[in-house]
């Protein structure tokens, strides 16, 4: 009994340590955001200093934070909803009506994630140029939906697979149409899984930098482009960059914190059955 208590204590200690290590860079960034540029660069780094809000004032004065933030919200939540709209029926079909090509199709979808994105930069750039989608929210929405779609389908597919086939069968015996099975049974049953998939996609889209930096410049640019504008090859910029980064991650951190329960529930969904 005592051994068990000891073991538990150790796991707690280790969990805390790991969490601290992972959290440290974010903590340091938040701290740096309140330093002056000289303090931010000072060696050895200073832990105690008189905090200043100058960096935030400067960052606000230099760029239109709200415009970037709105683009980020629109693009990440919009692309998540779109991806879910495509992925739920697809995963449903593949989980409950598999053909002999289903495993191959799944792998093929995932394979699109295996190529480094820069490989298709020029073709996509040309397509976007001709369709007038460069520097638009719509353009990013399309790209983000497509790049996240394989992951969403895979995750939903595994969640749907966990739903016992007997339940679906029983509803079919009771005369439910495939649509009714999907909306009245499958979605409510795997809601935690869908929610955590959605959250993960929102976070992935929020943090995506390659495409947003390359396809947008000002009108459609999200917060990742906003952060990038504060990096500099010459002169001191760490404090301002940190302030910009804090502002960029704040909304998603709040969302993540509020939905912690769903996220954990969803990620461990089905594990104890």
């Amino acid at each position: 009994m005592k051994q068990m208590a000891n073991e538990k204590r150790w796991t707690t200690v280790i969990a805390w340590l790991v969490a601290l290590v992972i959290f440290f860079p974010i903590f340091w960034m938040a701290l740096t955001a309140f330093k002056t540029e000289t303090e931010a660069f000072s060696v050895p780094p200073s832990l105690f200093f008189s905090p200043t809000l100058d960096n935030f004032v400067e960052v606000f004065a230099r760029s239109d934070y709200l415009k970037f933030a709105w683009n980020s919200v629109a693009v990440s939540f919009g692309s998540t909803l779109l991806a879910l709209a495509f992925a739920i029926p697809a995963a449903y079909a593949m989980a409950f009506f598999p053909t002999k090509r289903t495993p191959g199709t799944l792998l093929w979808m995932l394979s699109t994630k295996m190529m480094p994105p820069v490989g298709v930069l020029i073709p996509i750039y040309l397509l976007f140029r001709d369709m007038g989608l460069l520097d638009t929210v719509t353009g990013l929405l399309i790209v983000f939906t497509l790049i996240n779609l394989p992951i969403v389908i895979w995750m939903l597919y595994t969640y749907f697979k966990d739903v016992p086939g007997e339940i679906m069968e029983a509803s079919r015996v009771d005369g439910a149409t495939p649509m009714q099975q999907l909306f009245l049974l499958l979605i409510p049953l795997s809601l935690p899984g869908i929610a955590s998939t959605g959250l993960l996609t929102v976070i992935l889209a929020w943090n995506e930098a390659f495409w947003s930096l390359n396809l947008t410049s000002s009108q459609g640019a999200p917060l990742t482009a906003f952060i990038a504008s504060f990096s500099s090859p010459q002169g001191l910029f760490w404090a301002k960059l940190s302030a910009a980064s804090v502002m960029a991650i704040l909304p998603i951190m709040i969302v993540g914190w509020m939905s912690q329960k769903q996220l954990v529930q969803g990620l461990t969904f089905g594990a104890v059955k």
Binding site: E37, T38, F41, V43, S217, S218, A221, S229, P233, L236
Partner: protein, 438 residues
């Protein structure tokens, strides 16, 4: 009834507004995030006030991201940018490909002859100007007058690398956290290779011989790189292979370096008491020389150019002539103080007593810029232009690759000989693949 009237009038207002905004030209400006550009962004409100039909849209990116972004855009002819910020490296290469508008028809009051000759040449291709300089820099030696005094040393106006090494040995006091010398070690064609290229040139070496064969395995390279590695490993700060301009600036301004050889733009920063703890203890000399005075200090300019794919070329020309004009320089001086004026572009700036008084570094900086000659930078004839780079498109890749090897030597992963040998063979291969000699 009232409601309907209101809706109708609102619609009318909206229509007029949209009609008005239709006549407006929006200029999309791709630029980097440095002090001068931030000031330009702030002052551009005045330009917009003077030109109500032009609206400016700023796209600020980190240098390398910007370069990639602009190249993609211009190479595909997408026309997302109307004004681009590029340097002396890109201008001739891009002009040759027909990506940039030639700037022959500058207004008379722009006084293009006032722009420093060396800078103008760096931004020209086949005698034609393709970009207007916003700011220009060379390299200088910065040193701590208090430490030199304490050690009983005097820095000559024109030091040699030998002297620098002797000084570094005497000034290093690792227990007190003071390092004799700080130099760029971070790999990259515009980072460590900028400094190493100037060293190679002044040690009598060059990147390529007249037939475009790389000469990295020559004794001159070995001397130059050997000196560089010795200096940093014996007298430099720990972890020098990750130090770029910013890291060295931080080290120097916090009093950790006795000497620092880097861009002239650092002068304004190390002299600024708000950013530097050693503001009143800094001296400057020209960049060190070795076998030849040629190519010992670099020349770089950030300039504004108009891509041929832009659909608002007239408005773009209006903006770039405004942002690089004499009145603009005066505007910065009045609003932000004369020490913040963009340096290195116009003779008139250096003739202005207000500037010379506010910037004690003005004279050595001007001298360094005026004596830098990118087309006569090597002891023996070379087929390329550029001091801290080679003016061919392949150099970004080559420079960064060799830069990584140099950083590897610095980190103790390989010997100088081995690094130079593998650099020679890899550059040779790249050049053959690129079809040289052309």
């Amino acid at each position: 009834m009232n409601h309907r009237f209101l809706t109708a009038s609102l619609a009318a207002v909206a229509l007029t507004l949209s009609a008005e905004s239709g006549a407006e030209t929006t200029l999309s400006i791709g630029t980097v995030n440095n002090g001068d550009m931030i000031i330009m962004q702030k002052l551009s409100q005045q330009f917009e006030a003077q030109n109500p039909d032009i609206k400016l849209d700023w796209v600020v990116l980190e240098e390398n991201v910007l370069r990639q972004r602009l190249t993609t855009d211009i190479a595909t002819g997408s026309g997302q940018f109307d004004v681009v910020t590029i340097g002396t490296y890109e201008v001739p290469i891009w002009a040759k490909r027909g990506w940039l508008e030639g700037l022959d028809n500058l207004p008379a009051d722009y006084d293009v002859d006032d722009v420093l000759m060396a800078v103008r040449e760096g931004l020209s291709y086949e005698g034609k100007l393709y970009a207007l300089p916003f700011y220009a820099e060379s390299s200088l030696t910065f040193y701590r007058t208090d430490l030199f005094e304490k050690a009983g040393l005097t820095m000559p106006d024109q030091p040699t690398w030998d002297v620098v090494k002797q000084f570094a040995a005497k000034l290093t006091d690792k227990d007190a956290g003071i390092y004799g010398i700080c130099l760029r070690g971070k790999p990259g064609w515009g980072e460590n290779m900028a400094l190493i290229s100037t060293m190679v040139h002044t040690f009598g070496g060059q990147w390529f011989d007249e037939n475009w064969n790389p000469t990295i395995d020559s004794p001159e390279w070995k001397n130059a790189v050997g000196t560089y590695i010795d200096l940093l490993t014996e007298y430099g700060p720990p972890g020098a292979s990750s130090n770029g301009f910013n890291e060295n600036l931080a080290l120097f301004t916090s009093g950790k370096c006795a000497m620092w050889i880097d861009a002239t733009v650092a002068a304004g920063l190390v002299f600024d008491p708000a950013e530097s703890q050693v503001a009143d203890k800094v001296g400057f000399a020209q960049a060190p020389i070795a076998k030849t005075p040629k190519g010992n200090h670099w020349l770089w300019s950030w300039a504004l150019a108009i891509p041929t794919s832009s659909d608002a070329k007239d408005a773009a020309l209006k903006f770039i002539t405004w942002a690089t004009s004499k009145p603009y320089v005066e505007l910065v001086g009045e609003k932000f103080g004369w020490a913040k004026v963009p340096p290195g572009t116009r003779k008139s700036t250096y003739e202005n007593p207000l500037y010379v008084e506010a910037a004690p570094f003005a004279k050595p900086v001007l001298e360094a810029i005026q004596t830098a000659n990118p087309s006569d930078q090597t002891l023996n004839p070379a087929p390329y232009t550029g001091i801290q780079y080679v003016g061919i498109a392949e150099f970004q890749g080559i420079g960064t690759q060799v830069g990584q090897m140099m950083a590897g030597v610095l980190a103790g992963q390989m010997s100088v000989d081995n690094a130079l040998r593998s650099a020679q063979s890899s550059v040779k291969r790249t050049m053959r693949q690129a079809g040289y000699p052309k």
